[in-house]
Symmetry: D2
Subunit: 480 residues, 4 copies
């Protein structure tokens, strides 16, 4: 029986499915892939009211327009060029079938790149020939319930539709933010108890899992892939190093050279942002609350200041803290004409945008994602993405980064699904270091990078297994 | 008499005018400003066949849609935020009127930023309230004949319409490429002889002027602003340092980190490109023909190679040479699957794109400006902008750079128009170093940069005038 | 009773003492401070056979020449300029006397900078007026038994003399390498059992402590200060970033620009070395065994290779692995004429130097620390410091780095000495994160760096104490 | 007759000679090669009063101690490892003998590296086997009159002894500073008139030549090799980029990371210094008088300030201006305790050191080249090299840089000596660009750099000769 042998059951027309969601911009941020630029359809009908069939006759999905599949196919083909690690893992999975029988329900962003991830779960899909979120249903490999511009209500409706399909019950959860986990936990506790594992990739979702665990209510093993070393480095340091430039440039055409910039927070995101801007000739100041990170900023050549010391003369303020009200109204009042402010951190409260919605200030939308907030004296401050995440709103996440994430998620699903009884208890785990290293090693081929192998003598001298793991769990992996 | 006092006569309805042209993409490259993203009108009527009036009742212009003025106004307002040097020079010009009586005919690209340049020529226009190329006519300050997508024939029709208006005869030429100069020189020699000066900003146009001069046929003083120090640094080094990143990212979402890149040519453009890519973690190789530039590349940490040594394993090939067939078919045949090739140099012949238009290769347009060229074995090479200039086709030129150019042009016009008899003969000149330094000093305010003044004693010791020029003409201004 | 109030008892003439040792070059590496350059005395008498008195009449020490005190005083004064954090902690300690009653026996390197550390232990010594290892005895604040060039036998003699003084018994151990701890543990177990704490700063010493602990034989709480975050960053990343340049330059006057360098190992040391060399224009290759570190190298712009791929054409080989035989004879045979090889790692076996001591190779010492190893065909390979640590042998450790270490050690001593019963058991501990952050914060003043303080609201939002610790224990502190 | 065929006449025992001078530190700066570290002889006899013979029996030289030859041989061997370009040119010269018959009198610094240059002039000396300045006489290839510590009087005595030897009259001058040229011009005008060419490498010497030329008194063709492109880049940008680090580190062991530094002047030297310091984590401010250079500093990411704005809080002040009194007493008074000041510019008047020699300030020499200047309140400012050039006083010039200079000088000598009648008139010339490019190409081999050759078609397209020169004379060779 094929159903039992393969992990890719869910996309068949019998109704097994997975939810994939592009979180709507009204509720939170979303990746603005190149695809979205063309998404200018004037069709105002709610997808919930549409009746669509994919080419295989299935109607078990809900998206805006199934006809965009061809465009999606191309986007995915482009994406796959830079996702050879995921593609090679997919190839291996298609022969070894480590997820046979798995029924995965997921809630995550969909772009060309994340779409590649879903092709992973279907061993018949080696050469996709339709497109992105749409292509996925069109191919029947995943059932998608999501569309751009969905309301809060739509969002929960989509989640519910995913879990409650007749004849299909999920046994794995792939979550990004914890909303899906929360919904299943609260509304379908009998389903929840039978889940074999949860894979969660977001800071917020992980936080919720730890809380659940502390409260003794987590009855399912969960894997925190957000803190995997390889994924972390790429999500934060390497990705933000590029997306800060991309996000600022696309929205404002600003020249970086000579600009005075203050980066609030010198964690991985702040490090990536300040390094990139400095490399392109900006003068960068850093604010920090933590003396160790502050000292790192000093040694990297950044003046560590309080925001108030520089707010009057900087050209750009970038928040990367995870904190709230890092830039407050008082400081916004003192910014100079033509200066800009944006957020690369974790939430949309780092800049106190709410404080700018007062009668004496005029907002003028000059481009998508770009508002001029105008003070009574004519001073303009340029606010990007209304304070939401710049890298998600105004830039694209490089395919390669998403390959890292997707590979990490896939390995976490495989690990949890196949782990012998007892290896994982009802707790939250980090991806085992060896699998973390495996994610990295799969991606080295892209760079034509050749690792050195330990000799037997050296391995013995170092007390290491020749195949890793090569570092203790607490190792810090400084980036430079 | 107002006419004699002001240099801004040309835009009035009496027919005085200036041509401003956005060179059509079919004939050559064009700046793709953000504005163009919205230029998706389905109106297929040729602008030549349209009858439009601006709000002042004038029909002495020819553009696609006069109604886009409001959008243009916003773009210009954004642009002016980063063009304070030009704005301050405009203010000074409006009071001193150094171009009173000048009738300037021009042929150049139009974007929000270049539009600001034209507001310069009108002393009534301190606070523009309509938009870009369209805004300019709408305001009646410049007569524009240009539209996106114009044919070769349209282009020359536009030029001709500019020069031949009844009751208005140009006495200055502002050119970019030499087409306008050539047209006037060939077709309207009596007009040409009365021109008081030509300001030319492009390599090609300057080359044509020197040829004319050598042939003894240049009967008008001309100023080569292309080789002004300040402008050069920004047009090439500083601009390309940013636009290579922007151009690659917008078209392909490529991650720079770890990519193997070969930069062909280590002049200013090549230096900018390789520095930026290296700064973001790419591994960069350089090819050179000149041993001095080759040695510079070595000292800057780049391996100097022949293209054939690396062509098989690089991810990106970037041409910056000014030469032709720098990447030939044989080399394109050897590039690896998924690699990309683009041009940052001076012409669209650096990559031998013509050689790729053969039956055995399939071209697939995957996005605007992005073609996959597919070999019979399935190998894909990603060609950007069909080998035309990436920085013009797929990136924006930062406003600040255009401010430098526009300020340089404006000062060149002022210098030529006001120079005492005999200062300039029938030859091609560089902008005097003192004015070159003035362009720079006007832009320092943006950076809150404070120059040091020489004491009398120091000036004497150095044998310099305290106000400059500070360097001999042959000084090289190494950038770092 | 003064004795009980002050922690600085040990240096008084009653015989309480501390051993400070400059480990001889014959047994292992030693800091080559500037001081050593002048140490060209021809006096061949063993210090053990000399009878010397300091100016206070004490003979309870053993050094080469007590008369070098004045030179040492100056070196210390220079050092203190860059050790303001330690000086400010010393000031606080002199008023709070947290080490009153402590009798510390130590075994560590002595330079001007480490000497400052010892002035810390004496509240009478706010303005030192003699010199370095010598100055310390001269002032009577520490009893030193050490000299440059001591034999293996001398070394153990010195250790023994420290522990066995009549009328004085140590209650704290400050060790660097574990030799002293081992000696006391083995030879004076009754003394060992009464020790209140051990502070160990070296990799090797820490390793030995963990082994002792595993074996259940560690009857004293010990603090591993080697792995303190602040100290680690400086010891490895920041220090090596500078000392690789300094070490290579001082020994060989090599120009870095354009040199091809292979850095073996991309841990913190390798990251520091490769970043610095790249920044100065070298072309750097990296070898790695760990895929995660290898991927980091890729993203930082380094080609990851096997040593054999590049050994024939590189100019410099630098080992930073902690491994052994990373460069073997076979590879040395293939290095090109004039190339150089050196070690920045953890031991002197990273380069298989022993394999070069064969009859067919000629060694020629061309300068101190610089050997030309000459192959039969005339090829010369330049070996630095005979494969010992370049940063210790041929460079100086910046004062600021030593201030970090010394501050960390002092706080560890204070913590262990004052901790309430039960806080520390018979085990090995890391410095509490809060004290780690305190070390960092003390050093921020040097950079005129201003930390931001959390508001109450923000602290609550983040779930943090306003005074730290600011990060969980597993936080990785990427450097950039 | 061999004597007439070879250009190496001067070193024979018949008395033909060349002067090579190590300018004494009392009169001006001198390279402090590693050799000088061992120069601790206590022999106080003036070399003028010594009678020495080299191994060939010649006494026609005057140096301190002919016995140091062996040490010099080693230094030269080390130097030759990094001077392969010069060595290959030497090889070619030894076969082609382009300087046959040339009798060169020179006045320049002697180090291991410059010694290699002199081996160039003797075709018998392919494998030098004695040492440096001393080795040169010992081998009889050059007659040297110079010693470390010579007085002003000694200096002129040495010059005179060089020119006035019986039976030998120079026909070429190789000068560095113009002293020798001036002496011959003033005292031996009949000799001067017969000189076939002068090669001058210093700013000062070139300045004097231009003055002589302006005054119509230069009756000999002279070549200004100081402004050769290749040499300039290395002397200034590339050399200073490394020597600023080396000079500061060797003298003060300062850690660069986080230090606040102001670099006065943003010419090539300032660019090199600020780039290097920034790369190692310093925070760098720049002062400038020239708006173009100021704008370059902005675009490179440096805040352009007036010295007074930052003098109170910077840790290091570095002058690179060529100007005088750039740092005056008033500013020195405001520097903070422990800050340091040094000079990388052109003269020893950039820092007003004279103003510090007042009674209320105490000078304390803490190390060679390092003075603490102590204010009445105890504040110490660290002055390096007494304000003389740090890169010459406290660092070494990399061998490779000296190879560039020596190769340039040699080619200039060859060009002047062999130029057909009339090519050079009685004026000052720059090295022809083609020879400048040749200098560069000879040095590319060191980097294993492979130039690309133009195809015939490309050369024609570009209007270039395939062998160069590749650039017009005014080309600026931006470095990055």
């Amino acid at each position: 029986d094929i159903e039992k042998q393969e992990f890719s059951r869910f996309p068949t027309k019998t109704g097994r499915r997975s939810l994939s969601r592009s979180i709507s911009q009204s509720s939170t941020d979303s990746y603005s892939s190149a695809a979205s630029y063309t998404d200018s359809s004037d069709d105002e009908t709610s997808p919930r009211d549409k009746s669509q069939l994919n080419s295989k006759g299935s109607s078990d999905f809900c998206v805006k327009n199934i006809k965009q599949a061809e465009f999606g196919r191309r986007e995915i083909e482009i994406a796959e060029q830079d996702m050879s690690a995921l593609v090679s893992l997919r190839k291996r999975a298609h022969s070894e079938k480590p997820l046979a029988g798995a029924k995965i329900v997921g809630c995550t962003h969909i772009t060309a790149q994340t779409a590649v991830r879903f092709t992973f779960f279907n061993n018949k899909l080696q050469s996709p020939d339709s497109s992105c979120s749409v292509f996925l249903m069109e191919m029947g490999c995943v059932s998608v319930f999501a569309w751009k511009g969905e309301s809060e209500d739509d969002f929960w409706w989509c989640i519910d539709r995913c879990v409650t399909t007749e004849g299909w019950q999920p046994n794995m959860i792939l979550d990004d933010g914890g909303d899906l986990t929360h919904w299943v936990y609260k509304k379908y506790s009998s389903v929840f108890k039978k889940i074999r594992g949860i894979v969660e990739e977001s800071v917020t979702g992980v936080h919720r899992l730890y809380q659940l665990s502390k409260a003794g209510k987590l009855c399912v093993p969960a894997m925190n892939v957000n803190d995997s070393v390889t994924k972390q480095k790429f999500d934060n340091l390497y990705c933000c190093r590029e997306s800060i430039l991309d996000g600022l440039k696309r929205t404002t055409d600003v020249m970086f050279g000579g600009k005075q910039v203050v980066v609030c927070g010198y964690g991985e995101v702040g490090k990536g942002c300040s390094a990139a801007l400095k490399a392109l000739g900006a003068i960068v100041y850093v604010t920090e609350i933590d003396p160790i990170c502050g000292l790192q900023a000093c040694m990297d050549g950044f003046k560590v200041v309080k925001l108030n010391e520089v707010i009057r003369h900087v050209d750009v303020v970038i928040t990367c803290t995870g904190n709230k009200n890092v830039v407050n109204r008082d400081q916004l009042d003192r910014m100079k004409n033509g200066s800009m402010v944006c957020n690369m951190g974790h939430s949309n409260t780092e800049i106190d945008v709410a404080s700018l919605r007062t009668p004496e200030l005029t907002w003028e939308r000059v481009r998508p994602q770009v508002d001029h907030v105008i003070w009574p004296d004519g001073k303009r401050v340029i606010l990007l993405a209304e304070g939401r995440l710049l890298n998600l709103s105004c830039s694209t996440v490089p395919t390669f980064v998403l390959s890292i994430t997707a590979t990490t998620q896939a390995l976490a699903l495989i690990e949890l699904y196949n782990a012998p009884e007892g290896r994982y208890k009802q707790d939250v785990y980090l991806l085992p270091k060896k699998m973390d290293e495996y994610v990295a090693s799969l991606h080295l081929a892209t760079f034509d990078a050749h690792l050195t192998e330990l000799t037997d003598e050296q391995a013995k001298y170092l007390g290491l297994n020749k195949n890793g793991p090569f570092k203790p769990n607490y190792y810090r992996y400084t980036s430079r």
